[in-house]
Symmetry: C2
Subunit: 240 residues, 2 copies
């Protein structure tokens, strides 16, 4: 089945390949069935906004395919990108559980497939399935963990280069390239977006990349980035 945006849709959570990995794909059959009954499978084009910071929570969004940019935004328009969510992640979870407004904005980066569940349905589902409830707690604990790392990176860095180095190292670990001495990664973001991830300006990012290249720590070929000297990067990152 092809969606309007050229995705081939995952038909059902019962047959989803991610089952073993993540929340709601790894539940007893009974719970999975009732989840199946309350979810709405939907597709979004790139650039679609799932929810906006400050909105009352409508429900949760289980990301099945594609990536979603999570950001917060200041009144002056300056934005900070917290992370790029990958398939398997559940978005809007904490707001839906607590009933408070969404604390960030979710916008698709690729065409995405999403399972949406209305808040009331979801809360009822949680009351009826204790296992799911525990899974939710686990997932929230992990989100909290990530947020703490974000705070550490933002709050305890002395300079922009330190934050950039941390980001690059973080990316290389996510890609499973961490073990390699010279990790290679695809730069899916613009300098502007990288700047928004580390809380600095676009020009600074450009200058920092130029500097790293000059010092032969990294090298770029088109949109792929090769880390030549991971050690130097770690030193710049404050040897965390």
């Amino acid at each position: 089945m092809l969606s309007p945006y050229g995705l081939d849709l995952v038909e059902s959570c019962l047959t989803c390949k991610m089952r073993s990995e993540r929340l709601f794909c790894d539940l007893p059959a009974a719970a999975l069935q009732s989840f199946e009954a309350i979810k709405y499978a939907t597709a979004y084009p790139r650039g679609a906004v799932l929810f906006v910071e400050g909105q009352a929570p409508r429900g949760i969004f289980v990301l099945c395919k594609g990536r979603v940019k999570l950001s917060i935004c200041a009144t002056d328009g300056k934005t900070l990108i917290l992370k790029i969510a990958e398939p398997g992640e559940v978005l809007g979870l904490s707001a839906s559980v607590s009933g408070k407004p969404y604390e960030l904005t979710a916008e698709t980066v690729d065409p995405c497939q999403v399972n949406f569940v209305k808040r009331e349905d979801f809360l009822r589902f949680l009351k009826e399935h204790a296992e799911a409830c525990f899974k939710v707690a686990e997932q929230l604990a992990e989100k909290y963990n990530n947020a703490c790392h974000e705070v550490r990176a933002l709050g305890l860095s002395h300079s922009a280069i330190e934050k950039l180095a941390k980001l690059l190292l973080d990316w290389s670990t996510r890609n499973g390239e961490a073990s390699k001495p010279e990790p290679r990664l695809r730069m899916a973001l613009t300098h502007e977006e990288i700047a928004q991830m580390i809380g600095t300006s676009r020009e600074t990012v450009t200058r920092l990349f130029a500097d790293l290249k000059k010092r032969q720590i990294i090298q770029t070929k088109g949109s792929t980035l090769l880390v030549h000297n991971k050690g130097a990067l770690k030193v710049l990152a404050g040897a965390v």
Copy 2:
């Protein structure tokens, strides 16, 4: 009953006055009884460390009396205070749920009374009492919310004065003084600690306070602080 540190202990969660407010004080009798059976009531002097960032999770700490400083620490010794926890709060929750290391350090500011529950006992308790599990999810959602606000304050501020203004406004709302035009609050922290809360240096905090006084926005008498011009403070905070 008097503890070694001059606290009069709260005897039991069954009779605790906070019951209606918070997690574990607001559960069905059956759950409360089994919680009662696995908790260890303990007392700490001021300056005691409940757990340290990076340690494997031993269990949760329910704060009954006193305040606890939660901080993260960089390798160079620079620390960032995330919040001062108040009675009713559950510390070490996310680490205990996820099994990952504690992501921050908890140190008592006052003499404290704490109910400690070992991780295995706690997880078993959660499996057996679905209501508690949902409460945990709620609590974690709230923690996540707070962390997001922290990220916003740290990441989207242009200047130190902006962060300080946000902090002062935040304090005045917590004290229930928010409605008053000229909120009054007790400064329980040193300039050094305030600096650690907003990620700046001690000298800068001193200078900023001097500046606010000169501009007649605040006024200090001993350790109490009076906000004269809340509007000006809001403007400085970026009118959030």
